[in-house]
């Protein structure tokens, strides 16, 4: 047993020296392979980071959101629905919410406007903690808003202290900026305007008996699916969204983008694997001679294959570590600058999104299986053919 281990250590030693002897060729392969792994890993890390960020944002979202559909499109939901929902056992609170998008013609940006009843909204008292400056207006006070940092910049660029928005009838509504959200919340608040629900109703001309959707808060989280079913049964024209369904949608969105990019990269990876197979299948005269000499000197076919295996493993392993490390640095310290346009989307306002790469074992295993294993197969399998070089050809000088 000990002898076998020592033998393999000796073979590993020989392999390292063999790799060093052909260092420019092996170095080139390693660099290219590491580059391919870097690209694949970067996408996986970015997807994981964005998904984690989105899921984090959902933690403070209501357990169930109820919207109303008409002809398959979302429309205003009557406040009466709230009364019916509140009667379902297990529902803790039903809070109406008004929100929508406001298109700013000057910047070309779509701003998100949310009108909330701070008195009734759970965690509303904690909104102060998210502000970098100013304070949350008193519940019920109108004409004062909380804005994200990009909106503050837009207002300041216009040389005014007030945020002016236009109603559907083109009349103007002006708001004083009561507070600005902290940079740490940029991913959620950068293009956000939070106002009293009455101001939002006035801005969007929404009926006093309606809201955009209803936020349903549930006492026991285990009961969310049951309560969602009951709401859907009681309100046939309602769209009932649970928090888990929204998080799955986020994962699908990011996964789709990541998958699309990965398919493009897998083409490059496939080309690289074909190249590796081709390289491993052919032997230079020098390599044939070396294998023949080794076999005459007492190296078995399995020893030759072990050398090939270790060569492939060391190059692939080195490329994997280099590629993943580079990808981590690219995502964590350079905000995935190479891929942001693909992953972040079409928004005009881009928050200063700080991505924390997701280093899960399953992610690393996935990258490993899609990169290292195909390369190992492409180099070791054809190596079998090279390992059976006839030994007598060396004696005859061929």
């Amino acid at each position: 047993m000990k002898g076998a281990l020592t033998k393999h250590l000796n073979i590993l030693d020989y392999t390292l020296s063999s790799l060093w002897r052909r260092r420019s060729r092996n170095g080139s392969v390693l660099i290219v392979f590491a580059g391919v792994i870097f690209l694949v890993a970067s996408f996986q890390f970015v997807t994981g980071a964005l998904t984690e960020t989105a899921l984090d944002a959902l933690r403070s979202a209501p357990e169930i959101t109820v919207q109303r559909l008409s002809a398959g499109r979302q429309t205003e939901v009557p406040l009466d629905y709230g009364g019916q929902i509140a009667g379902i056992h297990g529902v803790r609170e039903v809070v109406p919410r008004i929100w929508g998008y406001y298109f700013d013609e000057v910047t070309g940006a779509n701003l998100t406007v949310i009108g909330v009843d701070l008195e009734r909204m759970p965690l509303g008292e904690k909104l102060n903690l998210t502000l970098a400056e100013g304070e949350v207006p008193e519940p019920g006070s109108t004409g004062r808003v909380l804005v994200g940092r990009s909106i503050k910049r837009i207002v300041e660029s216009k040389g005014t202290a007030y945020l002016s928005l236009f109603r559907p009838d083109l009349s103007q509504a002006s708001f004083a900026i009561a507070g600005v959200f902290d940079a740490a919340t940029d991913v959620l608040t950068d293009d956000l305007i939070v106002m009293d629900i009455g101001d939002a109703r006035d801005l969007f001309h929404i009926s006093p008996a309606a809201a955009t959707d209803l936020c349903v808060y549930v006492a026991n989280l285990e009961e969310v699916p049951n309560i969602a079913r009951k709401i859907a049964a009681a309100l046939p024209d309602a769209r009932v969204l649970t928090r888990s369904q929204i998080s799955q949608t986020y994962q699908v969105v990011f996964g789709w983008r990541s998958g699309f990019a990965s398919v493009c990269l897998l083409t490059a990876l496939a080309a690289f694997v074909i190249f590796a197979w081709d390289k491993a299948s052919g032997l230079s005269p020098e390599e044939r001679r070396e294998i023949g000499i080794l076999k005459i000197l007492g190296w078995e076919t399995s020893d030759i294959l072990a050398v090939r295996f270790w060569e492939g493993a060391l190059i692939a392993g080195g490329a994997f570590i280099a590629g993943c490390t580079g990808a981590y640095i690219h995502v964590a310290y350079f905000d995935a600058s190479l891929f942001r346009p693909v992953m972040v989307g079409w928004s005009v306002i881009h928050p200063s999104l700080r991505l924390v790469p997701s280093l899960q074992v399953s992610t690393l295993l996935l990258i490993f299986c899609f990169t290292v294993l195909p390369y190992m197969a492409a180099t070791v399998i054809p190596a079998w053919r090279s390992a059976i070089v006839p030994t007598d050809s060396v004696l005859s000088g061929l």
Binding site: K2, N10, Y14, K295, L297, G298, D303, L395, G397
Partner: protein
């Protein structure tokens, strides 16, 4: 008897249009601790006979016994281990790997043995000293002289202390001085108890006083004329 061949025949590409009969009914006995030469023109079967004795290939028919082993009955893996332990090879052109150092070349037969680094280094150092090439140990083998290359080849053949040494046309590309030096080494190895077989048609080899027997070959047969 150390080596015994009875009715050994070797046919390449048997039954095909390019069939070649390399050896025909070879009967040969070689005693231990002797220095023997196989002599004959190119293509007479010397290298094939050496390959069979060296357990590199198996005969098509006949019986061969080498140092107690019958290679015809052995799987390739056992032949490889037998070769490693019992046979040292010195090739035409020496077949040293030029990219490896002198020390690494001599170590090659030891790698699959399972010896630790210290044990391997001790054996190699002893041989470097014996052949006066210690100062070249860490040189790339492609940068040493012809004479030093010859000594590296002999050292590599001896690193596992095999009882049988096979040399295929070892002086084919050497000058007379190096050829003479080579035969002096072979004579010393015979004195040390090795059995040696050299294929050559170089008179400096075949007519050396240390040679016990010259075996002539012609057209794949032992020439007894």
């Amino acid at each position: 008897m150390f080596i015994e061949l009875e009715g050994v025949t070797k046919i390449y590409n048997q039954g095909q249009i390019n069939e070649v009969v390399a050896l025909r009914d070879i009967d040969l006995r070689i005693e231990a601790h002797t220095l023997n030469c196989l002599r004959g023109a190119s293509g007479c079967g010397k290298s094939t006979l050496l390959s069979i004795i060296g357990c590199v290939i198996q005969p098509t028919s006949g019986r061969a016994a080498v140092a107690g082993l019958q290679p015809a009955r052995m799987p390739d893996r056992f032949l490889t281990v037998h070769r490693r332990r019992c046979i040292g090879f010195i090739f035409q052109n020496f077949n040293i790997l030029p990219a490896l150092t002198v020390r690494e070349n001599i170590t090659l037969p030891l790698v699959p043995q399972g010896l630790n680094r210290r044990a391997m280094a001790e054996r190699v150092d002893r041989l470097l000293q014996r052949f006066s090439i210690s100062h070249r140990g860490n040189f790339p083998a492609g940068r040493i002289s012809g004479g030093e290359l010859q000594r590296v080849a002999i050292a590599r053949a001896l690193v596992n202390d095999p009882p049988l040494i096979l040399a295929d046309e070892p002086t084919a590309h050497l000058d007379s001085g190096l050829s003479r030096e080579f035969m002096e080494y072979m004579a010393a190895l015979k004195q040390a108890g090795k059995t040696i077989i050299i294929t050559s048609h170089d008179p400096q080899v075949t007519e050396h006083p240390a040679v016990d027997r010259v075996i002539d070959m012609k057209d794949g047969r032992i020439d007894v004329s």
